[in-house]
Structure formats: C-alpha cells, structure tokens
Amino acid sequence: MTDSALARPAATRTATTGRKRDRMRGWALVPSVGFLLVVFLVPVSQLLWLSVVNAGGEFDFVHYERLFSSTLYVDVLSNTLKIALWTTIACLVAGYPVAYLLASVPPSSRSGLLIWVMVPFWTSFLVRSFAWMLLLGRDGVINQWLAALGVVEQPLKLMYNFVGVMVGMSHAMLPIAVLTMLSVMQSINPNLPKAASTLGAGTSHAFWRVYFPLSLPGVAAAGLLVFITSVGFFITPTLLGSPREMMIAQLIIIQIEEMLNWGFAGAISVMLLAAAFVIFYLFDRVLGMSALTGGATHGKTAAKKGLLGRLGAQAGRYFIACVSWAGWGIARAFAMIRKPRYDRHREQRMTARWVLGIAVIVFLALPSFFVVPLSFSENRFFGWPPRGFSLEWYEAYFNSPIWREATLRSVLVGLCTAALAVLLGTPAALFLSRQEFFAKTALMGFILSPIVLPNIIVAVALFYAYSHVGLIGTNIGLVLGHTVFTLPYVIITVMAVLKNYDHRLDQAAWTLGASRAATFRYITLPLIKTGLITAFLFAFVRSFDELTIALFISGGVATTLPRQMWSEALLNITPTLAAVSTLMLVFVAIVILLAEFIGRRSRRR
C-alpha cells in the first residue's frame, strides 16, 4: 500500500484517501474496545438491569424496596462510606509529605526512596493484612512491645474494630495515593516556588500559596482513586474488622455466595455507585479543586459558579491565607529567638520533610517483613513471637498439592493475562497517543472505567455472565476477567512511555523508505520495549495478586494462590500463610529489581 501510494503523483492523493487511512488505523482500537464491551460493559449493564426486573423479566423495584425496608443495608452503606472517607483522608494526609519529599529530593535519592513505596504497592493486600494481624493482635507485636515497655498493663484492642480496619485500609491504599500525588508534583515547574521566593515569599508562603494549590489536582486524583478503591474493598475489613465494620462489598459477597441473589446484588451495587457519585458531586461543589485554587481549575477564567462553589472558594482562600500567615508567624518567632546570620554558608534544610516522609515510609515498608521470621518458626499458631527454627511451613506449602496447583494456576493465569493485556493494549495506546479525534476523552473514560468502578461490581457481573456460558471455574474465565482490570493499566503505562516518544523518528524512518511495519519493527518497538516489559510485569503482578474476581469465578475448582490464601485465612490461619507470604514478598522483590534493572539499562542508552 505504501509503495503504490508513493508511486502515485502527490496531487492525486486526495484528502479522502488520507482520511480513509486514518480511519483504517482506527482499527487499532477495535481489539481493546471490543474486549471491554464484551467482557466488561455488557456484563455490568446486565447486572444493573437485573436489579430493576423481577424473575419474570418485568420492571420491578422489589429489590430496592427490600434494600430500604430495613436499616441494615443503609447502615452498612453509611459504614462503608465512613470507612472509605476516613481512609481517603488518612492516605492524603500521610501520603502528601512522602510525595512532597520524593518530588523535592534529587533524582538519585528519589529512586532509592521510591523502592520502599513500590514494595508495598506491589505486595498483595492479603500479605499486608496478614502482617497487620500479626502486629495488631491481642498478643501481637505492638501489644507485646508496649507491655514490655510497661506502657500498658492490659493489651490494647487494636484489631477486630474500627482502629484495625483504618490502619489496614490506610496501609493498603497509601502507595497508590503517594504515587498519584507524586506524578502531579513532579510536573510542577520548579521555578514557581523559586519565583515566589524572589518576590518576597518565605518558605511558608511559597509552599501554601504556590506549591500546595498547584499540587491539588494530584491530591484530588489520589483522593478519588483511594475512595473508589476503598468503597469496594473487602479484604482488610474482613480480616481486621468485626461485623460492625462490615462493608458493602462483604454484603454483596454474602448475597452471591450464600443466596445467589443476582438482582439484589445488582441493587446494592447501584446503591453503592449512586452514593459514591453523590459524594463526589458534593465534594466538587463545595471543596472542589476550584475552591482551593481560588477560581481556576486549569488556569481558565472561571465560569459562573453556584452559591456552594462561591462559599467553598471563599473558604479555600481564607484557609490558604490563614495557614500561610501562621507558618510565616512561626518562622518569624524562630528568627526572633535565634537571629539568622547570613555571613555563613548554610545549606537549605528539609528536616521536617525528611522526618515526616521517612516516618510514613517506615509505616509503609516495615510491617510486611514481620511475616518472615514467623515463617521459619516452630510456632503452631499464627502469632508472635516466633520460636525456634524450622522449615516445616515451607514443607507444608511445597508438599501440598492444593497449594502447588493454586500457585501454578496463578502463574499461568498471570502470564496469559499479561500477554493478552499487552497485545490488546499496545495498538490502542499507540493509536490514542498519536491521534486526536472526536470523543477521545469519552473513549479514554470508557477504557479507564474498569479501574474506576469498584472491582466487586465487575466481579459479580462476570460471575453472572460466565454462569451462562460455562466459563466458571476455567482458566480462560480467570484470564479474561483479570484482563479487564489490567488492560487499562497497560494502556496508561504504554501511553506514558509514548508521551516521551518523538514521532518524527517514525516520519524519518518513512522518508528513509521503511514501510509502516518495518518502522514499527526496527524503530518504534526497540524504543518502547522497556515500557512494554514494565506494563507486562505490572499486569502480571496485578493478576497474580487478584482476589475479587478469583473469589467468584474460580468456583471452588480452579483456585488461585490468593484465593487459596483467602480461604485458608478464613478457615484456620496457620504459619503456612506466613511461609506463602514470605515467598510472595521475595517474588515481588525480584519483580521490582527486574523492572529497575531493565529501566536502568534502557536509561543508559
């Protein structure tokens, strides 16, 4: 095609052929969009549809009537929202100093610190919850240390209550909050705080009036992501909470596992979605981005705002003014106590930033490692402290056909998922990063929706859909389900790599006589290879860790490693879980080092 096009005189190549060719390249989107339509949109719509029809297929709001007939469901919903909200606040408050520290240190120190955020980020929620059970339990690490120090006489109740759930949830969501905020902070022009400084703003004013407002889009994105993930979360509340901390996702699981009530599960899902949307709407109205930044989201003259918005904006301005003058006052007070001298060389210190940041990083990275000594102990139960040394728990793991089979299946499903997601996602990412077209934003929204929609809803929807086509308990079913979640991540990762890719390289190759295929093979692919491998590893780990989908779809036959850990944890929690967790930690460390190694090697080029 290229040859004939070149052979023709340029004048005869009309705009139509050009447009036709663009449309043809639009086929790159078909695999991923088609996949999401069939395996994501149709099942989810089906589930939501089931909530408004009765067994006879007629419109009926019977499920909703039941939902509101007792206070049980509304209570669980408000409980869910409360936990999700507090988790979001905790993650933003604790995550901000870490992201700020990471964004302000030189790149060499950054990669070292970042690893300690990445380790928990890649570590399974289950492993991390087990670690917290070990730390927070009645005879857990914390209580034993507090008793040894003589701080408490009676062990504190740190688990199976709100405190336990909050600690576990914050720990689970913190890495994603840090990474989201970091990406925005890194894009802030470093000259802006410097400019504020030359204009007379001290550290406090430069931070609160310039840096902080500019970092707010990251805070909002992190908040949204954490809130959405928390709202559909069930692992931590089940393991670290009591029935009083029951969340909506647990309720949905009960409806499906015990009663197979699809319509009612759909109705709960709708209630959950509706509540989440209302909260976002109110948040955006009152405390939204525009409020704190004093009128502009993207530096455009603000449109007319409602009363709520104006109030929010006013409050935001007062807040910024108050904190920045307060900080200024504190600095002045310090200066009066110890007069600063400007005749000596004094490096700018970032003590507060380091102390806060490192404290949170320790909170993030440390807990998981407590499972390691336990896995080598002779303890008969999952508790602290570890006694003696034995490898029996590793033997138990390696000798058990159930564990072996589950591990093998997880690896297989993970590899297939990663391969499928990369194969489907790469063409779409290539197309999306190069083409500007009508409704691109809407399409991106659709592609990202599987990670924005609470996982549990997708899992239930897939369970229902699969039950009609016989995919329950099959590896293919698991691979398809996991690909729904990993595909958006793959597309984002590859697009991020392509953002730094100079398209003139392709054009140069074309003018040098390379066909499109040859250009991709010899120019594009080698340059984006690192990104593809990262995306592959990421997809693999996400699938390897995935529990929600596996919980429903494995159907008790085709059990995966996280599924096996989950049932074991609910049934009888033994040190075997510590052994499995340790193996998973080692595995994650290897994957991170591998990704880091590949990244370094490509950067050297």
Binding site: S197, T198, L199
Partner: protein, 366 residues
C-alpha cells in the same frame, strides 16, 4: 554614584567543575548591566547566586549596603524575571502582580492602586482578571516584568527573558524593557547569550567566559577595543591577521602582516607587549573598504574576491590575501550591481585606528 550591588570574590563549584571562578563586580544604582557569554560561561550561576537560588562557595554579595551572601531569596529585596516567566498558573494576572505586595503586607487599597498603575505602564490594563495561560507570549513577558517591578526592588535580575520569543517580538520587547528601565530607574542585571541584544540594551556589558569575567565595559569598549580574541569574536565579525611586531614609524606601531607587508596600528594604551608568543591584528569587516586604483590608505592590501553575498543593506565579500589568509569585508549595498565580482583582484584598505592588536592566533569569523 553609590554601588547598588557589590560582588566580592564570589565563586561556586559543582564537584570538580568550577562553574564560577572568583569574580568581583560593582553595579552602580540605575545601571543596566548585561551578563553576556556562551552557555557554561558562568553567567547564570552568577545571577542565581545573586538571587539566592544557589549559595556560593565563597565570597560576599552586598545588596544595597547589606551583606546578603547567604540570605534567603525572599529577604534580599530583588526582583527576578525567569526564562519562561514563572507566572503562577493558578492565580489571575491581578493576583500574580499583587503577590509580592501581599508578601510585603501592604494595605488592600495600596495594592489595588499599585497593580492598576503597573498594568497601565505595561499597557495591559484589560487583562487583570485573566489567567496566565490565556495571554500571548509577549503579554506574559510584560506581566512578568510588571510583577517584578511593582514593588520597586533594589535590583531586577533577568534570566534570558526574551529567549522564548520570536525575533520580531524580541526586538519590540527590548525597546519596552529599555523604556521601563528609563521610567522606573531600576538597577537591572540582565543575562543573555545574544550579543546584539546585549549591545542594544546595556549601559555596560560584562562578558563572561569559562567561569570568569573576560571583559567589562560599555558596548563601544567591547566592540571597538576588545581585550582578547574571544571578546572580538563574540561581539561580532572579525578578521584575524597573524602578525609579528616590527617597530615604530611616523607615530604608528608597525607590524609585519601575513604577506610580509607592513600593517600600521594607532598606538593604544592597552597594546599587549608579550616577550614571546603570537599576536594577531583584528579588523572588523565593516571597517574595510574597497579602494580606488591609487587611493591612499593607512593600511592597504591586494585581495582576490572568492565570493560575495548580498544580505540586504550590506554586501559581504569573501576574499583572500596573496598567501591565502581569509579576509571578509562588507560594503553598503548601493546598487544591484556588485562593486567587485568573484575572481577579481581588488585593493582594500582600513584605518590604522581600526586595527586592534590582540594576543594569540585564531582564524577569523564573521
């Protein structure tokens, strides 16, 4: 006039690289001083040290009579225009300009008066409620100027402020900055690598090379009496003729030129007198003219024209002496026909006062 800014032996190094060697500089009040130099010459390092955005390894910086070497930026009473303006994207133009005034805790009425006044001066009173991203590059540039002059700082520092603009807008902004400087009588320290910009705007130019000051003086000083081959070449086109000193004759210093012929030079105070080593004579292309057949000149030579290029107001001739030394000269373009055509042998001449003796050797450039 008293010194607004005084720099004493300031230096800065990064590991084994010395970005700025010990440098001293005095800037009187109201002066427009340009730090000119190629990239890596230390000009930006010096500016950043003055702004307090990097801390020097040694030396002293005095601003307005106060020691400020290690003072934080916000306590230095300086204004700075950044390369890409660094306007705060989340604040309106009004709030951007009001920012330094709020930091100085002025009353709201005072702030309003000053902001409106400076917006009038930069001729953009209508953009107060817009955001920076809604302004053109030239407008953003003017707002950046307004923001750093509205509080009348002791010194305004400008880091290649016109680098992001196209040629036409740059020329226009040069005049605006000059006008603003005259109106507000501020002391300005301006960093650029563009010698034309430096010459058209500055009271004095501080030419930097390799981490130190190469030459400090008015644009005329640097252009007509450079103290080094580097200065001569950086400021404009220059022919470099390798010479050897011969003696004195009729009140001129006489040097032996490339073909063996004599070159006369008006004696200058600064003429280098090296015991050994190479010397060159620098002649600017526009100081050479074509001579009629037996027209007398203080210096003259026969050259063969290789090529000529008409670049609008002037025509540039590329020629060579009998021994092959390149000579470039320009003549005003007065008619479509060239005064000399390729292959032709012509006589050229220049005044003894326009021959500058410099140490070292170099191929000229234009």
């Amino acid at each position: 006039m008293k010194s607004k800014l005084s720099i004493k032996n300031v230096w800065k190094s990064y590991g084994s690289v010395t970005a700025l060697k010990e440098t001293s500089l005095e800037v009187p009040e109201g002066e427009f001083l340009t730090l000119l130099g190629p990239s890596g010459s230390g000009k930006t390092t010096l500016l950043m040290a003055l702004a307090g955005l990097i801390l020097p390894d040694g030396g002293e910086i005095w601003i307005d009579g106060a020691l400020a070497t290690y003072a934080p930026s916000h306590e230095r009473d300086i204004g700075m225009v950044f390369q890409n303006y660094a306007l705060f994207p989340h604040l309106t133009i009004y709030e951007n300009i009001a920012f330094p005034l709020r930091m100085r805790r002025m009353r709201e009425a005072e702030i309003d008066r000053k902001v409106r006044n400076i917006l009038e001066i930069v001729r953009l009173p209508h953009v107060a409620q817009r955001f920076p991203s809604e302004l053109s590059g030239g407008q953003q540039q003017r707002i950046a100027l307004a923001r750093c002059t509205v509080y009348q700082p002791s010194i305004v520092l400008m880091d290649e402020p016109l680098g992001a603009l196209d040629k036409k807008l740059r020329d226009q902004m040069q005049i605006e900055i000059k006008t603003l400087h005259n109106e507000l009588k501020t002391t300005i320290l301006y960093v650029t690598h563009d010698q034309e910009e430096a010459m058209s705007m500055s009271d004095r130019i501080c030419l930097m090379n390799d981490g130190r000051i190469q030459q400090l003086g008015t644009p005329n000083d640097l252009y007509f009496t450079p103290n080094s081959i580097f200065t001569a070449l950086f400021l404009g086109g220059a022919n470099m003729l390798p010479v050897a000193r011969k003696g004195r004759e009729n009140g001129f210093d006489v040097y032996e030129g490339p073909g063996g012929g004599p070159i006369h030079v008006s004696p200058a105070e600064r003429t280098p007198q090296p015991a050994a080593g190479d010397l060159s004579i620098m002649v600017r292309p526009e100081h050479i003219r074509l001579l009629a057949n037996d027209e007398p000149a203080e210096n003259s030579a026969q050259v063969r024209i290789r090529d000529s290029v008409m670049v609008g107001p002037v025509t540039r001739y590329f020629a060579e002496l009998a021994d092959g030394t390149d000579v470039t000269f320009t003549q005003l373009t007065v008619s479509p026909t060239r005064s000399a055509s390729p292959g032709e042998v012509v006589r050229i001449g220049w005044a003894a006062a326009r021959s500058v003796v410099l140490e070292g050797r170099s191929n000229g450039h234009d």
